[in-house]
Structure formats: C-alpha cells, structure tokens
C-alpha cells in the first residue's frame, strides 16, 4: 500500500519534470525572438538587445529553464515581455474562476449521471430505461457552447430568471456569484453528464452480471440493496477513470463556454496571450493546465487504490 503510494507519487513528479521541459522546449524552438516579437518589426536592434538583457533572454537556454522552473516552484511566473506586468497574480485569479466553473460543472454531471446511468442499466429492457438512453444520446450530440446559447435564450432572455453573462467573485457578492455560475455550469455539466451517464450505465450493467451480485441476492439482499452495497463501489472504478479524463478536458474545454458567457477564466487568458504574442504568458498558462491535468490523474490513481483493494500492491 505505502509502496504503491510512493510509486504513484514518483510517477506524478517525474511526469511534472518531463512536461515542464517539454513546455519550455516547445516555446523555445518556436521561430522568432520573443523580444523582437514583443517590440514589433520596426524596433531597433539596440532596443531588442536591451529587452533581451532585461528579461535574461541572452542567457543560455538551460539557465533560462532553471530560472523559470525555480520561479514556478515559488509561485513566481515571471513578468510579461509585452505588458511588463507580473503574470502570476493574473493566472491565479483566472484559475480560480475556471476551477469554480469546472468543479460546479462536474458536480452537476455526476449528480445527473450517477442515478440516470444506474436506472438505465437496471431497467435496460424497460421503456423508462430506453427513454433515458435516447435522452442521453441527444445530450452527447450537443456541444457545450450550443447548450450554453440555448440556456441563455430560455432562462436569461425569455424567462429572465438568471443573468445571461458576467462574473462576480464569490467573496464580493455570493448571491450574484451563484446566479451567474448556474447557467455556464449547467451548460458544461449537462453535456458532460450525458456522456458520463453512458459510462455509468455500462459499468453498472457489467456489475449486474457479476457472480458476487448473485451471491449477495442468495444471502437475502433485494436486487436494489445488492446493487447498492456490492455493486456501486465496483462500478465506480471505470467511472472514476472517465471522470478524470472529463475533468482534464473540461479544464481546457471551459474556454468556449467562458467566451459564450463572457467569463474571465484561464481559457480566455490563454487566447488573449496568443493574440498578443505574449509568449511567456502562454508558456505559463499551458504549464498550469498541464499541472492541473497531471494532478487530476494523480488523484484518480489514488482513488483507484482507495476503491479497489486488488490495486494496493505495487506493480
């Protein structure tokens, strides 16, 4: 068990190190000198050289890499070559916004998918199960931004119940924060929930065929009790895998929904960075996203171990 934890932590740390090298290398091999890009084609060679010295771009690449990495470890993401503003605070502000959105979306997805998928599996030959199946099929086909637009049209424009866009930090005005969170979180969550429902359904169907469920019934448990006590934890293992993948896609996929609802999240910061040719900002945002995805995978690995005792021995 302890060995397994050390092993997973090791994998996590090594992936972090490797990906930081890759992100740095990828940005370094991009054609064009960051200083030249920042100052524009009309800048004089002296001005470019001055900026290079100012941001340390004249030093050898390994030195630049370790300097950047050292900063990252202390939460210092450097200063933008374009706006000359510290990048760290911006990224952390935006990250919080995106995290709220993603976490709320994921909770909605799970709340929809877990019961719906279970009912679909338990009643897979009955009308109610088939109807839910058809409904989730529609959900899978709808992209999140379209769901967002539809939700805005219905709940914001027609009914006027909720604001169509905008963002308020929770500390500033909790009520407004919730109101503005509902629609974007729903448009992310319902679509992800439709996809997740199908995985929950197949996981539960799989478990329903297991011998140990028959043993549980032979003990005297009713079908639903047997599924609840013996099936859910076993069905959770494949569902957690998909949940991890979905969280990772949501982090990045939230960008479209952030645009639809005019929310200042990490996705829009990344797009701004790209259009302003703010290379260090792009590099930092990409690295933060990579860290988040790796962290999600790490947590999924730990959850496996918690759920399935067979995985508690190191591989």
């Amino acid at each position: 068990m302890i060995l397994r934890l050390i092993e997973r932590t090791g994998v996590f740390l090594v992936s972090l190190a490797v990906s930081s090298v890759l992100v740095f290398a990828f940005m370094a091999v991009l054609p064009g000198d960051p200083a030249r890009v920042a100052l524009g084609v009309n800048a004089s060679d002296e001005a470019v050289a001055e900026l290079r010295r100012q941001f340390g771009l004249d030093r050898p690449l390994p030195t630049q890499y370790f300097d950047w990495l050292g900063g990252l470890l202390h939460g210092d993401l450097g200063t933008s070559y374009v706006s000359k503003v510290a990048i760290g605070p911006q990224v952390f502000d935006r990250l919080q916004v995106t995290l709220w959105l993603v976490v709320a979306g994921m909770i909605i997805a799970l709340v929809v998918a877990a019961p719906a998928g279970t009912v679909m599996a338990a009643r897979h030959r009955k009308i109610s199960g088939l109807a839910l199946s058809a409904f989730s099929q529609v959900g899978v086909a709808v992209p999140a931004f379209l769901a967002g637009i539809l939700l805005i049209v219905v709940f914001a424009v027609r009914l006027g119940w909720l604001p169509a866009n905008g963002w308020t930090p929770p500390a500033q005005d909790p009520a407004m924060f919730l109101k503005q969170l509902i629609l974007p979180a729903l448009s992310l969550g319902l679509v992800q929930g439709a996809v997740l429902t199908r995985y929950v359904r197949s996981a539960v169907l799989e478990v329903l065929r297991e011998d140990y469920l028959r043993t549980a019934r032979a003990k005297g448990l009713r079908p639903f009790q047997a599924l609840w006590r013996h099936g859910l934890r076993n069905a959770a293992v494949p569902v957690v895998t998909v949940l991890g993948l979905q969280l990772a896609t949501l982090l990045i996929g939230a960008v479209v929904v952030e645009r639809v609802f005019v929310i200042p999240g990490l996705g829009s910061l990344l797009l701004d960075g790209v259009s302003n040719r703010d290379l260090l900002l792009v590099q930092d945002v990409v690295m933060v996203l990579v860290i988040a995805v790796l962290l999600v995978n790490f947590v999924v690995d730990l959850l496996y171990v918690a759920l399935d005792p067979r995985l508690r021995t190191a591989s």
């Binding site: 140990y212 003990k219 013996h230 759920l307």
Partner: protein, 317 residues
C-alpha cells in the same frame, strides 16, 4: 418429521422452450440428496428456481414449498423471497473465484448474512463470523482479508461459511468442487458434510461427479434432458441402475473396465429445447423401440423409481 423441501411438477421455460419439465423432488429433514446429470440436464436451473434466482426472461412453473415458509415459492415476490434466501435456504455456487465481492473484506461479507436477517447484531455477528471461519478451518486473520488474497479453495470455504451463517434448513451446493484442485476437493466436501451434519441441515448436492455423490449423499436423483429419469438410495441406484441412461453413466465412469476402450454414451446431449418427444433419452439409447415415442410413466415410489420402458435388470426386457 416434515420434509424440508417439496418440489412438485417444476418446469422452467425460456420463451416457449422447456428446459426443465415435471420435476418432483423431496428432501427430508437432515437428508443429503444428490442431483446428478451431464451439463445441460437442467440441474442448476432446478436449483436456481428453488431459490427464485432464475435469470430474467426465464420462467418457473409448478410448486416449490419449504417447511416453515407459509407461502408458495414459485412466483413469490422479491420481498418474501429475500426473507427466505440466506435464512432458510442457502446456496454455494460453482465458481469461488468470482462469487465474492472483490472490494469488501471477508469478515464483512460473512457478517452481512447475519445482519440482513437480523439474526445477530453487529458486534456479535463479528464474533460469529470468526467462529464460522474457524469451523471451515480458516484462521481468524481471514476476517480482514480481501478475496484476492485467498486461493480458490479458501474462497469456496468462505462462501460455505457465509451460506451456513444462519443455520439454514436446506443448503444447496451447485458443483461446489468442480472448479477446485483435486487436492482441496476432499477437504471442501468434508467441510460441507460436516457443516450440514452439525446443524442438522438438509443438503441438495448438484454435481456430475458420481464418485462425489457416492461419498456425500444418501439418496440420488438422476436428471437428463430436464427430467428426473431415476431416483433412489445411492447404493441401489449405483449398483442396480434401472434407467438406461443411469446405466450408461455408470458404465462411462467405471475406471476398472476390462475393455481397452473407454465406454461412452453414444451421441451428445442435444441442445436445450431440442430433446426428443416421449423418452428424452431415446435418441441415444441402444434399447429404444417405437414404444419410447411415448413418455414413459414413473415406476416405483416417489423416492425410489425410474421412468423407462425398457429398464435394465429385467431378464425379458
């Protein structure tokens, strides 16, 4: 004393195909009865329909009554059947490797049997689980183990322990040793017999292994094609078989045969629902005549008899 289990005219059908027909079966209190036959003869379906655990779209008909349960069990609703299962009747299945929940500790799985039926409260159920494990010769540490940490034989002993947890009046074992190594088969059989004798429980033992029936059971029923073709005390049936199928089965398992070639029953068991009309065995029987197109009547008493037009052991047959 009353019979523990009384099955009358049991049939099992899937859509319009009959898989088991007209099975009569009685198990007396504390009696050990064997049910033998090749795979596809309907033994397991008979067991599952007694417990009411048939797969979806498989239907049972006829009557199953259990002593001390005041309702008919065929077609009884889940609520009533779940009270009977695990308390009055318990079952040990064939495949020990998959019969236990991989994510739950052994102790919790055994204690659950007692907690469901409220036979014991939580701390007492824990102690009882340890005791049950000891009786199947597993150490007390097994309580905290997960199924994957145990071998097949150990897991089957756990399944036996949880089946016996509530001292059921009837234990059904469906090929409990078929999936096990030969070396542990004897131990598990011994534990099953000891378990039911200690509790004066009755045993319905399903197997295709004649030697196992001979050591475990007092009485035996032979099934073929979803029907009981012969029944009687083990000694009687195995030394003087009457039905031609039983005769063939015994000849096929006789290892002391003098001829060089192994004796077999010609042909194969037909697929489910494709058995001939009349005597189900007539297409593979050397003694079959036109008479066998009619279903043979049961000859003899309910506990000892056969259904054959040309029985063995009659000189002018």
């Amino acid at each position: 004393m009353n019979d523990v289990l009384t099955v009358r005219g049991l049939s099992v059908t899937v859509r319009d195909t009959a898989l088991v027909s007209d099975v009569d079966l009685t198990v007396g209190a504390g009696e050990r009865v064997g049910l033998i036959g090749e795979s596809g003869s309907g033994k397991s379906l008979t067991a599952l329909s007694i417990l009411g655990l048939l797969p979806e779209d498989v239907r049972a008909g006829g009557s199953v009554r259990l002593d001390g349960v005041d309702h008919e069990m065929v077609g009884a609703n889940e609520r009533r059947m779940s009270r009977v299962r695990g308390r009055d009747i318990a079952m040990v299945f064939q495949e020990p490797m998959t019969a236990l929940n991989p994510t739950m500790r052994i102790g919790d799985q055994i204690a659950e049997s007692m907690l469901i039926h409220k036979t014991l409260a939580k701390p007492a159920a824990r102690t009882a689980a340890a005791d049950l494990l000891e009786r199947v010769q597993l150490p007390a540490e097994t309580l905290r183990a997960y199924p994957h940490q145990l071998s097949g034989g150990q897991r089957q002993r756990v399944v036996l322990a949880l089946a016996l947890a509530n001292d059921p009046a009837l234990l059904i074992c469906d090929e409990p040793t078929t999936a096990l190594d030969v070396t542990v088969q004897a131990l598990v059989l011994d534990l099953i017999v000891r378990g039911v004798v200690d509790r004066s429980s009755a045993l319905l033992f399903i197997t295709h292994d004649l030697a196992v029936v001979a050591t475990v059971c007092e009485r035996v029923l032979v099934m073929y094609g979803g029907r009981v073709v012969e029944a009687g005390p083990v000694n009687e049936v195995f030394t003087r078989p009457r039905h031609r199928y039983t005769e063939g089965l015994l000849a096929a398992s006789d290892l002391e045969t003098t001829s060089r070639r192994l004796t077999t029953i010609p042909g194969n068991v037909p697929p489910a629902g494709r058995f001939p009309s009349g005597c189900v065995f007539r297409t593979r029987c050397a003694h079959a005549t036109a008479l066998c197109e009619e279903t043979p009547e049961w000859t003899g008493s309910e506990t000892e008899g056969f259904a054959c037009h040309h029985p063995a052991g009659v000189t002018n047959a």
